[in-house]
């Protein structure tokens, strides 16, 4: 039934192109959502002047960033400095490759989807470190140092908590994890007795740290390090870093919605699935935003202590007990 004979690689390229652009669109508008949400929390109105209810504000911001002068510090390591935003952005965009937005609707639902996601999302540290090092700025250097500390410490709890739904499903394929939660609300892994709730909380804490959001935003830490690793960036390079950061947050929110909130399961016809998935992603994003605007930042040593002394052992214990539960359930036959 093919009207036009497409080469075999074409569907992936087209899907990739579409997803990339949709993600960029979501990022621009999710910043507006965050600003409006934060404004409500702080008894303000938020962006209101550009377009009705400030709806064109993200476009105005993007245009402003494009027109800004691009400044490269004389003392910077030019090649590393210029490359860093792109190196940072690519992994943040790549994570969307494995996410199935509906059954069979995605760029590539790999067999090792979740492994790919976790591996790629921690690659952003390379870009961060390049930005911090290449800027040749002391604030940026300190921030890069903190970045390495933090990402290394929080990757393990992040992976462990993300592996719990994998254990419950028995597959690393994101599509399978989502499919295992279809049918009823109680099948969502967040409602799995005890294990589900605990691992969901740990997942949120670990993603906060992996996304560098308050209270774990010691990389940016504008009250100490001015703007951290991106203090020397301006114009489009700054915009790329910002885009990558938000793309990472959205990607992690999608992952959270997929692993714990049943992905595309919801009432209504099947084509509503992606809408439900996106709404759950927005819910995850708003939880993170809510936390961001209500806590003060904690110190670097406290962050590391929290990771290694609390979160790491807790997620590990939870992972092992999940494994025991799964084995017991299969051997008991229910």
């Amino acid at each position: 039934m093919n009207l036009v004979a497409l080469p075999p690689w074409a569907p992936s390229v087209i899907a990739g192109f579409v997803v990339l652009n949709v993600v960029i669109g979501i990022v621009t508008y999710i910043t507006l959502l965050e600003r409006k949400f934060a404004a409500r929390m702080q008894s303000r109105i938020g962006p209101y002047r550009v377009g009705p209810h400030g709806l064109l504000q993200p476009i105005a911001d993007a245009l402003k960033l494009m027109m800004k002068e691009d400044i490269v510090p004389t003392a910077a390591d030019r090649r590393i400095y210029n490359l860093a935003p792109i190196v940072f952005l690519i992994p943040c965009m790549l994570i969307f490759a494995t996410i199935p937005f509906a059954p069979g609707l995605g760029v590539a639902d790999l067999n090792i989807g979740i492994l790919f996601f976790l591996a790629v999302s921690s690659m952003e540290i390379v870009g961060l470190f390049m930005a911090g090092w290449g800027s040749n700025n002391k604030y940026a250097l300190l921030s890069a140092m903190r970045a390495v500390n933090q990402i290394i410490s929080y990757d393990l709890p992040f992976i462990f908590s993300a592996l719990i739904p994998v254990l419950l499903t028995g597959s690393l394929k994101l599509g399978d994890v989502a499919a295992a939660q279809q049918g009823s609300l109680l099948k969502w892994f967040v409602f799995y007795p005890v294990i589900g709730q605990l691992s969901f909380i740990m997942f949120i804490v670990a993603t906060l740290a992996a996304e560098n959001r308050v209270p774990f935003d010691i990389l940016e830490a504008e009250s100490e390090l001015v703007a951290g690793f991106r203090v020397e960036y301006s114009g489009m390079k700054f915009a790329l870093i910002q885009l990558g950061e938000y793309a990472h947050i959205i990607g992690s929110s999608f992952l959270g919605a997929l692993l714990f909130l049943g992905a595309w399961s919801g009432p209504g016809p099947e084509w509503l699935g992606p809408v439900w998935f996106c709404l759950k992603m927005v819910f995850m994003f708003l939880v993170v935003t809510w936390i961001r605007w209500s806590f003060v930042r904690i110190r670097v040593d406290q962050i590391l202590a929290l990771s290694w002394k609390v979160l790491m052992p807790a997620t590990l214990v939870l992972l092992i007990s999940t494994a025991i539960v799964v084995v017991w359930r299969t051997s008991a036959g229910f």
Binding site: V214, S223, F295, V296, I298
Partner: protein, 387 residues
């Protein structure tokens, strides 16, 4: 006695491979003004701090020699622009002491009311900016900051309806106050402080139940009682370190003896203790304003005729030091008069200036993030530091 030179020798020329010297300020998002801290870091740990001040020096003391006793109170408010009423207060008290001017009871009460409202406004700004230092302008700190600013606006509205200005007032004048309260002001003031009183409960709920806030403040920047007395810090810092000293109580001025209030003291000496002291001071200030409004006597607001010329106020030869308890501690003004309409010499004692000198002694050993938390807990206003 503490040997300041020995405890923290700042190694300005040391540039070994393991250490990093970093400028925080004079242009820095959390410097509370133009303050430059040269911090020496070993990794994340601060090993030495060199505090550089003077970027906001405006020759206030010299300026006061060129302005008459009628003119300068309005300018005095610019020394500490966050608590403008306090500096005016100190200046007119010194002039009145030399001139032996009586101040009518009503004027004294009005002075107390505005000084305590100013304390509330100043502490609100402190709480907001301090939380922003720790929580970030793009995080939970900004939320508290905006709540505090919302309440501070209400106090500034009161000042605006009283004197027409929101930041620098010129409310005080030698011999009394320049303005009386307008109709309905007392009621508006009561409503405002009742609202602020309820909001302070909200802040405490939001902060004291917050494990991250406690982790960032408890045990950070501890000032021992001995150190506090040696360095000569004042105000909430001193009381946070367990020294029960408040000029309003110990050396009452302007009818403070008439009011029933307590002086909150904490013994821990860390950032959290200073926070607790200031939160209790909110409540005491509100109590004082309430009492003063309830018992506000009728009568004139100044013992001197209304001003018709700037050189109208002349005070005899003599000298006097007057001190008031400002939001940041002891604000003093020392005036030497040669009998003319202007002071011969004038000296300010800014509370922030002496409080700031504690920083190089308590910061070393803390992490970079604590530098801003400790600096914020000291509550410096650089207009007052540099004058």
């Amino acid at each position: 006695m503490l040997d300041v030179n020995n405890t923290t020798r700042v190694e300005m020329d040391w540039s070994g491979p393991e250490r990093l010297q970093m400028n925080m300020g004079p242009q820095h998002p959390s410097a509370h003004g133009v303050f430059r801290a040269i911090v020496t870091l070993e990794g994340e740990t601060v090993v030495a701090v060199d505090a550089v001040i003077g970027y906001l020096h405006r020759c206030h003391e010299k300026l006061s020699e060129t302005l008459t006793y009628a003119q300068y109170p309005s300018i005095a408010s610019k020394t500490d622009y966050v608590a403008a009423m306090t500096s005016e207060f100190a200046y007119v008290l010194a002039a009145e002491e030399i001139g032996k001017f009586e101040v009518p009871k009503r004027a004294q009460y009005l002075r107390v009311i505005v000084a305590e409202l100013q304390r509330i406004a100043s502490h609100l700004l402190w709480l907001g900016t301090w939380c922003m230092d720790m929580g970030g302008a793009l995080g939970g700190g900004a939320t508290i900051f905006l709540y505090c600013i919302r309440e501070r606006e209400l106090v500034l509205d009161l000042f605006e309806s009283l004197v027409g200005a929101r930041l620098l007032y010129g409310f005080f004048q030698v011999g009394g106050t320049r303005y009386d309260i307008p109709d309905g002001w007392a009621q508006a003031c009561r409503e405002t402080i009742a609202l602020i009183d309820s909001r302070i409960d909200e802040y405490e709920e939001m902060l004291e139940d917050n494990a991250f806030f406690l982790a960032r403040t408890q045990g950070v920047g501890t000032v021992s009682r001995e150190l506090a007395q040696d360095v000569g810090i004042a105000g909430p810092l001193l009381r946070g370190s367990g020294v029960d000293f408040d000029i309003r109580k110990n050396v009452p001025y302007s009818s403070y003896g008439d009011f029933d209030f307590s002086v909150p003291v904490e013994t821990a000496g860390d950032c959290y203790a200073r926070y607790k002291v200031r939160m209790a001071e909110f409540r005491q200030a509100i109590a004082i304003v309430r009492q003063a409004l309830d018992t506000l006597p009728a009568g004139p607001i100044s013992s001197r005729p209304a001003l018709k010329s700037v050189a109208q106020i002349r005070i005899p030869k003599g000298e006097a030091y007057a001190r008031v308890e400002g939001p940041r501690g002891e604000v003093g003004s020392y005036i030497i008069s040669d009998g003319s309409a202007k002071p011969y010499r004038m000296k300010w004692r800014g509370a922030s200036f002496s409080n700031l000198s504690i920083l190089p002694l308590i910061i070393p050993g803390h992490k970079v993030a604590d530098v801003v938390a400790i600096m914020g807990s000291v509550d410096p206003v650089f207009g007052e530091v540099d004058r």
